[in-house]
């Protein structure tokens, strides 16, 4: 592990520790509730980023993994299974589903893969809607003791786990293999990198964390229709958050999810009638001026600083930072 990696892990843990204090310093449930939503979106965006950003396979069926995780966790938990086992099984079932659909799906490439995964998710959504049309509500006894604090810690912990695993992946041989497959599949295969294995691993990891996010959602929600987490909006929200932040990076989906949830919420609270228009405009501006996502702001600022500094032109050139779509700011194979 390099010094930079250790710094990243330590700063992430410090941030998590700071966030863990929030429920003890505020009694405002709206704040805690909003942060739980942020965490769920971070998990969704980061997990989509594994398959869509790092491995470069645009999966439009991410909601299926989230939905399956939520469905399994909720049913088991409400039937009296221990929460931890319900969550773990809720995360593993989407992985099994990913393995099942992975091999045939990866026969499709590019836009056909995207359409295929979208169709698969829609099939699952319609099937679930037909099989489970009833509401899943917590009984009133459970509601009387319902507290956001344990949901908050659960969501925070799972988000931290997701971010750390994505970080580990980005520094690992497997992650590098995924990037190679994304950049040029034929070249990667000619060097002995199995495209199918790497894509499958990416899909399974993506499904695992989306399923875990689904479990957190199932534990957090007081009442919802079991088919609701299969709605395609869960996929599109994750994709948008990832693109807003920056695909293929560790930090990008986190920034994107935070921006996506918080800005949307603030706008919705302040501008009841106009908020979709304002957020849409903001989104267009981000796409136009920061095509690599908001993570580009940092690299642009650094470049600006370098330009303004008194460094020699050669030094400035050395300081240039790559803008888009990089998992690593330096190659890291351990």
């Amino acid at each position: 592990m390099s010094r930079r990696d250790i710094a990243f892990i330590i700063s992430t843990l410090i941030a998590a520790a700071a966030l863990a204090v929030v429920p003890t310093i505020t009694t405002k449930e709206s704040v805690i509730n909003l942060l739980v939503l942020v965490y769920i979106y971070v998990m969704m965006a980061s997990s989509w980023n594994i398959i869509g950003g790092i491995a470069g396979q645009v999966n439009l069926g991410h909601a299926a993994f989230f939905g399956l995780g939520s469905l399994v966790s909720r049913i088991l938990w409400t039937k009296g299974w221990p929460l931890s086992i319900s969550l773990i099984l809720g995360a593993l079932v989407p992985v099994a589903f990913a393995l099942l659909i992975g091999a045939p799906s990866f026969k499709l490439r590019g836009v056909y893969f995207a359409i295929g995964t979208l169709a698969m998710a829609q099939i699952l959504f319609i099937t679930t809607r037909n099989l489970f049309p009833m509401i899943s509500s917590l009984p009133t006894e459970a509601l009387s003791t319902y507290s956001l604090a344990p949901r908050y810690y659960m969501a925070l912990g799972m988000t931290l786990l997701t971010v750390l695993v994505v970080f580990w992946l980005s520094r690992s041989r497997w992650g590098l293999g995924m990037v190679a497959v994304r950049e040029e599949t034929s070249a990667a295969e000619s060097l002995g990198v199995s495209a199918l294995q790497h894509k499958l691993l990416a899909l399974c990891l993506s499904a695992l964390f989306a399923g875990l996010a689904g479990g957190v959602f199932a534990y957090y929600s007081a009442g919802y229709y079991l088919f609701f987490p299969f709605f395609p909006t869960w996929t599109f929200d994750a994709v948008m958050a990832t693109y807003i932040g920056g695909t293929g990076t560790v930090i990008g989906p986190i920034i994107g999810a935070v921006f996506y949830v918080l800005v949307k919420e603030i706008l919705a609270l302040r501008f009841v009638e106009l908020h979709p228009f304002i957020f849409g405009t903001l989104f267009i501006l981000v796409v136009l001026f920061l095509p690599g996502g908001m993570i580009q702001i940092w690299s642009r600022l650094r470049r600006l600083l370098v330009r303004k500094s008194t460094l020699a032109p050669s030094a400035a050139k050395e300081e240039q930072v790559p803008e888009t779509n990089m998992v690593h700011d330096r190659p890291a194979v351990e």
């Binding site: 509730n33 931890s84 037909n130 659960m154 690992s172 534990y219 909006t233 979709p276």
Partner: protein, 439 residues
């Protein structure tokens, strides 16, 4: 390799810690137990008392009574949400124009401040908005949004926060069967709709001419299953026979098999709760196949002008249970129609009246409670006995369902007419339906 081990160790610790914290974390806010009402109100006061109380108020009156609503103003339920919003706003305007609601605790009328948020038809966002209304605005009551899946997500939050909740635009009875204490809905529910279907037929059509052979096209949604089952359960009691019971998934495109089986079974009436695209497809295919039931009750699909625009004369003769209609003859409806016309350039839609009534229920409960304490308001809402509102008299059952009138309307010559109850009808029930090919 060492790095991998370190990462695995960190990940494992995080996983175990978060599971432990989730299981062990104490509740941040222990909910206060609901206090029983000190005195059950016996009658709804309609006017603020004219005499000042003998005792001076204990604390200063707030600037406004905070009430909040999370409504789907955009997204798939946007068309319902805007109706509900209009009803809430018009009612608050009317109440505030008269000075607000009299609150005995402060011995004065206090205006209502209604905060409305758009939840984009997303139940998760609706939950977030309700939490905001609770902690930021400290609302004394919630007004509901629209559509049963939105209510399914938000009602438990009201229960958790112990904030009284008044919601319309959902007929699903099951939500009321969860034991919720803070939910009230002055809107007809499935059991009423199921029984009224046959009661109205028997009252409107002479024996011998009634469509006694019934087909049910049941949508595989919670409401579809609930109402389909209740129709089936009630039919025989009122002299009807279910000759065909079909099920279909929402957004199906082909209903021809079902229609052919219903036709072959000799069904004379069709009962269903389709969404609008399904309802339109159903009627078009019935017309193509040449099966015209003498009576059709398609709740939900034909509730707005798009029905008539899409189907023209084919859309006539279809009946609906809308909950309310602006042609009803309750006092105050004319005034509401005028205000709605001025504000929106058209008569009020079907959800405007029930939404308006919801605000009336909350205002009446606050006045009778004489305080802004949520539990007292909740208890007063449970004891509601409004002799008149925008939708007529309102009482609540123990499960929070409203004892309210359930009018039936029918499309006739491209217009919606009230056909039941007799004292409100703008036209007689058009029966039997003219065959599709002769319209």
């Amino acid at each position: 390799m060492k790095a991998h081990i370190k990462f695995s160790a960190i990940a494992a610790v995080v996983l175990v810690l978060s599971l432990l914290l989730a299981n062990c974390a104490p509740a941040t806010e222990a909910p206060a137990p609901t206090q029983p009402p000190t005195q059950a109100p016996t009658q709804a006061p309609t006017q603020a008392p004219t005499q000042a109380p003998t005792q001076a108020p204990a604390k200063p009156a707030p600037e406004a009574i905070e009430i909040g609503a999370s409504i789907p103003l955009t997204g798939k339920y946007g068309s319902l949400g805007v109706q509900v919003k209009a009803g809430y706003e018009l009612a608050v305007q009317t109440i505030n124009a008269a000075g607000g609601v009299y609150v005995k605790e402060f011995d004065k009328k206090i205006p209502i401040r209604l905060t409305i948020y758009d939840d984009e038809s997303d139940p998760t966002k609706a939950v977030s908005k309700l939490e905001s209304l609770n902690t930021e605005q400290k609302v004394v009551a919630y007004l509901g949004g629209a559509a049963s899946d939105m209510h399914a997500a938000t009602v438990p939050i009201a229960e958790k926060n112990k904030v009284p909740y008044c919601g319309v635009s959902f007929a699903l009875w099951k939500i009321h069967q969860q034991g919720y204490k803070y939910l009230f809905s002055p809107f007809p529910k499935s059991p009423t709709q199921a029984e009224d279907t046959f009661k109205i037929l028997n009252a409107s059509i002479p024996e011998g001419q009634r469509p006694t052979k019934v087909a049910i096209f049941q949508e595989t949604t919670d409401w579809g299953i609930e109402l389909g089952g209740l129709w089936k359960e009630n039919a025989a009691k009122y002299g009807y026979e279910i000759v065909d019971y079909e099920t279909y998934a929402p957004r199906s495109e082909n209903f021809s098999d079902m229609i052919l089986r219903a036709k072959a079974a000799g069904a004379e009436a069709l009962l269903a709760v389709p969404n609008q695209p399904d309802g339109i497809a159903m009627v078009k295919q019935m017309s193509e196949i040449g099966w015209t039931p003498k009576f059709m009750l398609l709740i939900r699909a034909p509730e707005n002008p798009a029905w008539s625009e899409a189907l023209g004369p084919l859309g006539d003769f279809v009946t609906i249970f809308p909950g309310w209609h602006y042609k009803m003859k309750w006092p105050g409806v004319e005034e509401l129609v005028k205000k709605h016309q001025e504000a929106y350039g058209r008569p009020p839609d079907v959800l405007v009246g029930p939404a308006y009534a919801c605000v009336e229920v909350v205002a009446d409960a606050i006045q009778r409670a004489g305080t802004l304490d949520r539990d007292a308001i909740r208890d007063a809402m449970a004891a509601t006995d409004l002799p008149m509102s925008m939708i007529g008299p309102i009482k609540f059952r123990e499960d929070g369902t409203g004892i309210v009138l359930n009018p039936m309307v029918q499309w006739q010559k491209g217009q919606i007419e009230v056909v039941w109850p007799p004292e409100h009808k703008s036209a007689d029930l058009a029966y039997p339906a003219t065959p599709f090919d002769q319209r």
